[in-house]
């Protein structure tokens, strides 16, 4: 009994932290830009496959390849913001469908060039081996992921609460027109937000890439988790996102280790979201504010 509880608690924490890392960017973009970034999946895929491309096709080392990948990701984000989001901000259905299509294009292009048989693998393991907590053995890389997730979330919260730019972004997330009136440069902050969300996505992907499956459709799986967390958390509220990440982490751990049915993991999380939404249609936290 105690052993099961121990496993569930530890895995709830680890999985919840990783899910937080995966969905933090999604929630922030949802809270600030007030759009649902259905193209979010391509960010994960590009992180792995661009790094691999720079290493294999251009002969870069790991660090230069990572730097080049980051530059390209920033460029693509900028183009998507200017070309789609900024242009069609009043036409949400076009943005949603357009972003989904962008994600599909990236996924299919990657699948064409590097199908799953290509055996793509990037060595971004920071600490080898595993640690024991009682009867539970956890990969050190996952522990690093959990620590990074907590640290990054704390930094984001501090940034939004304690800095002037953070304050401006929070104002922007509440009302665009009033923000413009008091002199906030809306477009510049939107662009900054598009860049900011890349940080947790890239870090999260690089941390889990050596231990979880890498394939051209990996982004869709992560995006599904991010969607669930964002809906459960209240569409763009960081506090709600943190609670939702750990709730979904707990659900996954409970289903896997108590019920012994890992195949029910996604289904149980979906069910949890639907049940909570029926009781609280606005999610755990109201999406009226970023924090």
């Amino acid at each position: 009994m105690w052993e099961t509880l121990e496993v569930v608690l530890i895995y709830s924490f680890i999985l919840g932290s990783i899910y937080l890392l995966i969905s933090l960017g999604f929630s922030i973009i949802c809270g600030v830009l007030r759009i649902f970034h259905l193209g979010y999946a391509y960010l994960f895929t590009l992180t792995v496959y661009l790094t691999w491309m720079f290493m294999k096709e251009f002969g870069f080392g790991l660090v230069p390849a990572l730097l080049a990948m980051v530059v390209v990701q920033f460029l693509i984000s900028y183009i998507i913001y200017k070309g789609i989001i900024m242009k069609y901000v009043a036409r949400e259905e076009i943005i949603l469908t357009g972003l989904l299509l962008v994600s599909t294009i990236v996924e299919q292009a990657v699948n064409y060039r590097y199908p799953i048989q290509a055996g793509v693998f990037i060595q971004t393991t920071l600490i080898e081996g595993a640690s024991e907590f009682g009867t539970v053995v956890i990969s050190n890389q996952l522990l690093v992921g959990a620590a990074v997730a907590l640290l990054l979330t704390a930094l984001f919260i501090l940034f939004f609460l304690k800095t002037r730019i953070g304050l401006a972004i929070r104002a922007l997330s509440q009302d665009i027109y009033s923000s413009r009136l008091i002199g906030i440069h809306v477009e510049a902050l939107y662009t900054l937000t598009m860049f900011l969300i890349l940080i947790p996505v890239i870090l999260g992907t690089l941390i889990v890439a050596p231990i979880w499956a890498v394939d051209p459709t990996m982004g869709s799986l992560y995006m599904t988790t991010a969607i669930l967390v964002a809906i459960l958390g209240g569409l763009g509220n960081i506090r709600g996102t943190i609670i939702a990440s750990y709730l979904i982490g707990f659900t996954h751990a409970f289903v896997s280790f108590v019920l012994g049915e890992p195949r029910f993991m996604n289904f149980s999380a979906l069910l949890l979201v639907i049940i909570i939404l029926m009781v609280r249609p606005q999610g755990i936290a109201k999406s009226e504010a970023l924090w």
Partner: protein
């Protein structure tokens, strides 16, 4: 007593104080008739030219037949449903399971597929009242994904990984080519009936009520419209129509796999039929369905393995390049915008 009055441009039928007009003025139906005749001749031409075309034609009709009720649902509920394929899954699996278990043919499974779709739609219909904007989009987006998960969890029943096989075929004449031709005509009939029914509904006073709900629910409620009733009716009725397409897929292919119809990829195609066709305009859905099915087929034949990339790029360009869709190029006047707006805040 039925009173029939024939005038120069219309036939008027009166019965117990009620009046029906049937307009004969050619300018109202000439183009529709020409296009319908063209569509009906197309399978015959395809039969002799290239049977592959028949398969594409069936896909086109089915894409359009999914998009037409979806357009009705969009207008009637004032919300964008991002998971219409859920009802394809319900209709298809009902028909497939019944056909495999009891050896039933398509005519016997049809009513059950419709009933299952209607019941599931009724179960989820509170969504159109409690959720709006982006919440509705997300919840409807999740529905087919939940269903897909279920097909994998209960794989003994749904065969989520390989799909159900051994379903009785839609037509069985002994000749594959004639089977294809008849299936093409049935799919076209289905699409044309949907087109006619939905067009009639949207042009009736119920269409006007739906447009009022679409414009502003509070205003519609203020002028005495029972908005909940109309939204639920539009949702359930359109879902039943979409469920029939699932039934068609199951019996047409003789197999049915949720992995083909429930993931996002299939849903994107349907949304693009609506957007590229003509932004929830019923005639635009036909244009969109044919355009996307034929573009897909041409690219498969000419491009080979890179087809999915090129297909998605072309559709992305068209999505942004045609603000009123392909049907908008044909129409001279700008039509009324019925697509509801989606906002993160409720």
């Amino acid at each position: 007593m039925v009173d029939v009055e024939i005038k120069r441009d219309r036939v008027i039928i009166r019965y117990k104080g009620k009046k029906w007009d049937w307009i004969l003025e050619p300018r109202y139906w000439r183009n529709t008739l020409i296009w319908t005749a063209f569509l009906i001749l197309f399978p015959l031409v395809a039969y002799f030219v290239s049977p592959i075309l028949l398969n594409t034609l069936i896909s086109a009709n089915l894409y359009a037949a999914i998009a037409i009720p979806l357009a009705l649902m969009t207008v009637g509920t004032g919300r964008m449903n991002f998971g219409p394929n859920f009802f394809i899954g319900v209709g298809g699996y009902t028909a497939a399971l019944l056909s495999i278990a009891y050896g039933w043919g398509p005519l016997a499974t049809l009513p059950f597929a419709v009933i299952a779709s209607l019941i599931s739609a009724l179960l989820f219909s509170p969504l159109v009242i409690v959720a709006r904007g982006l919440y509705y989009v997300l919840l409807t987006l999740l529905l087919p994904l939940v269903f897909l998960e279920i097909t994998f969890i209960y794989t003994d029943l749904f065969k989520g990984d390989v799909g159900l096989a051994g379903i009785q075929t839609l037509v069985n004449t002994g000749s594959v080519k004639i089977n294809f031709l008849l299936s093409a005509f049935i799919s076209m009939l289905l699409m044309l009936v949907y087109l006619w029914v939905v067009n009639k509904v949207l042009k009736s006073r119920y269409g006007l009520i739906m447009a009022a709900i679409n414009d502003g629910e509070e205003v519609a409620h203020g002028i005495g419209v029972n908005i909940n009733k109309v939204k639920i009716l539009a949702f359930v009725f359109a879902s039943g129509m979409i469920g029939v397409i699932g039934w068609f897929y199951a019996h047409y292919f003789g197999t049915f796999a949720g992995i083909t119809y429930l993931p996002l990829n299939f849903m994107i195609k349907i949304l693009l039929v609506i957007f590229i066709g003509g932004r929830a305009q019923v005639f635009g859905c036909v244009v969109g369905g044919y355009f996307i099915a034929f573009l897909e087929m041409i690219l498969i034949v000419t491009m080979g393995p890179i087809q999915p990339v090129v297909f998605a790029i072309i559709l992305t360009v068209l999505l942004f390049a045609l603000p009123e869709g392909l049907f908008g190029l044909y129409r001279k006047r700008r039509y009324r915008e019925y697509l509801p707006t989606l906002h993160v805040r409720r």
